[in-house]
């Protein structure tokens, strides 16, 4: 369906301490994790101070696939907030 093809932004929370030794930097590990579920997705932001992880544009299927990868704690769709 169209909804399954449509990309949305997801925030991916990672278990930073579980980074495989093969990676020297967390950003490389995040990128490799993303690359394993999507050829085209790019990291928009990497989070390191108040969260560990990244955000990227993914299809729902790619997001579900990411959830199953080692070191992935949670994958949450982006939410729009409003001024009060």
């Amino acid at each position: 369906s169209l909804a399954e093809l449509r990309k949305k932004t997801y925030i991916v929370h990672m278990a930073k301490a579980q980074m495989p030794a093969a990676f020297a930097e967390h950003s490389r590990w995040y990128d490799a994790s993303l690359r394993s579920v999507s050829d085209t997705a790019e990291v928009l932001y990497t989070y390191d101070t108040v969260a560990h992880g990244f955000c990227a544009r993914l299809t729902p299927a790619e997001a579900r696939a990411l959830e199953d990868l080692p070191g992935v704690l949670a994958v949450h769709p982006e939410v729009r907030y409003e001024l009060h």
Binding site: H52, R57, E78, Y81, L83
Partner: protein
Amino acid sequence: TTRTPEFLHLDRTEALIPQSNTESDVIVGVLDTGVWPESRSYDDAGFGPVPASWRGECVEAKDFTAAACNRKLVGAQFFSKGYEAATNPIDESKESKSPRDDDGHGTHTSSTAAGSTVAGANLLGYAAGTARGMSTRARIAVYKVCWLGGCFSSDILAAMDKAVDDGCGVLSLSLGGGTTDYFRDSIAIGAFNAVAKGVVVSCSAGNGGPSSSTLSNEAPWITTVGAGTIDRDFPAYAVLGNGKNLTGVSLYSGKPLSSSPYPFIYAGNATNATNGNLCMQGTLLPDKVSGKIVLCDRGINARVQKGFVVRDAGGAGMILANSAANGEELVADAHILPATGVGQRDGDVIKSYLFSDPNPTATIAIGGTKVGITPSPVVAAFSSRGPSAITPDILKPDILAPGVNILAAWTGKVGPTGQAADRRQTDFNIISGTSMSCPHISGLAALLKGAYSDWSPSAIKSALMTTSYSVYPNGDRILDVATGRAATPFDIGAGHVDPPKALDPGLVYDITTDDYIDFLCALKYTMLQIQAVSRKQNVTCDNKTIYSVSDLNYPSFSVAFETASGAGGGGSSKTTTVKHKRTLTNVGAPGTYKVTVSAPEEVSVEVYPQELSFASSGERKSYTVSFSAASQPSGSAAFGRLVWSDGQHVVASPLAFTWT
């Protein structure tokens, strides 16, 4: 802001601030619509060098140079990747792809928190005075996360990440979303780890009031701020042809109407549209409206936009009547034509005249700025209310601060109504919302953080909460404008902030990161969820430990009793007892504190011990409270207050009881 410093007795705080004050080292990070750096509220006269620990920056962009920052405005950045990915690339003819504030909201909130002193501030002559932020010595860093299309969580989390890394000591977020579990909420997650790093996070409660359980930003590590009025008003009188004179509010400042009456018409009778009574764009018939005062009903479109619609149709003036949803709440607007906003009751009186008189007439007289209005504060009808939908056992909102008709700095990009057609330029604007109350608390948190650099975010929050007041000087309880009756802790939390008292709280309820993790265990979050919220990988919830939300060392109490089955309506004799444990830390002189409890008749409250003696500063003492109640009909609520006092300090906690 003007007037709120006097209303909050900020002049009395100077004497209470310790010599070791490091307020100028505190940087308030404001996540909002950006900044108008040319505002005098960011004047850095008298400021020393920016603290060496500061890692923030002033981002250069097309309409924003690094020179825009100074020793007051120490950082300005923007976060738009999530917004642009979700929508389209920013159209720079419509909004600035830079930290520049095209909207005004961010300039208003950041100057409210920590703006410099500006003499001669006013909006079109209204609310004139010397404007200042709550902490004039704190510095400001702005993180633009809100755009024409909204504020996106990926950008907000990136900004929080950067703000904490930069070295902000306080984060102020006057924005929010719906109700969602903490592990799904980017603001809650970002705030958890900011607080863990010693950063106070103050957020607006939301404008979903007066309906109950309408809160945003209700995680217990966040300071959730509701909105109240101050003792200032902007009266504007609707003078009817039958001699009646009804008081509304207005910030109109143009040519006044004649005192002679004008023909008066209901918008609903000057339109061919079904929603014409709302004065929606293009719905008024000029031949029916021209030269007349038009009564519009509030709702759907912006209040100020209705004024433009009436003006464009040739109307001479506008009376804007509240609907039941707004009740008697009067929010002043810088209308483009002579106008006054009236409450629902007065609106009904006016309509009654309008519909019964064959030739109704009216005029509008502007009253200017009045101060010393009593009672004040009253809870704004729009201020979101508890109980918390996510964790009813945590009382929210936490605290009330000024959020109605607040004057603060404004952008040079749009006029005070924010409407594209408004060509007026003003250095200041008067607006309302929990967006305005939140930065009052953020600035006051910076004041406390400067005064007591060793206090944790939860100690600062506790000091603000336990010293707040819930009654007027005459002893009457703070009113809720939505009902006209006394407000409850679900409306005001601990009460209205009282800065001089917050600087000397005597005792505080401190909470550590581990306590918050125990709280998440009590919520039965999975390990993955707790790890995602806390970033901690080695966290565990011990199978042998009984975790309880009631053990969180919160400065207020909320007890959600379960109604016994079959008790609905008639009640039941079964009594339930809920125990809460708390620990107080002495942050003042040695002393002995005694407890007093005002409990509702439905609940028996026992505190043990009844007396706590502190021999030194930093000493901690624990107590337990047992709340026992028979079953009540589902939906019942009752309230009380628990107070520890040594005769000098009053450490007060609200009690809220519900039966579900």
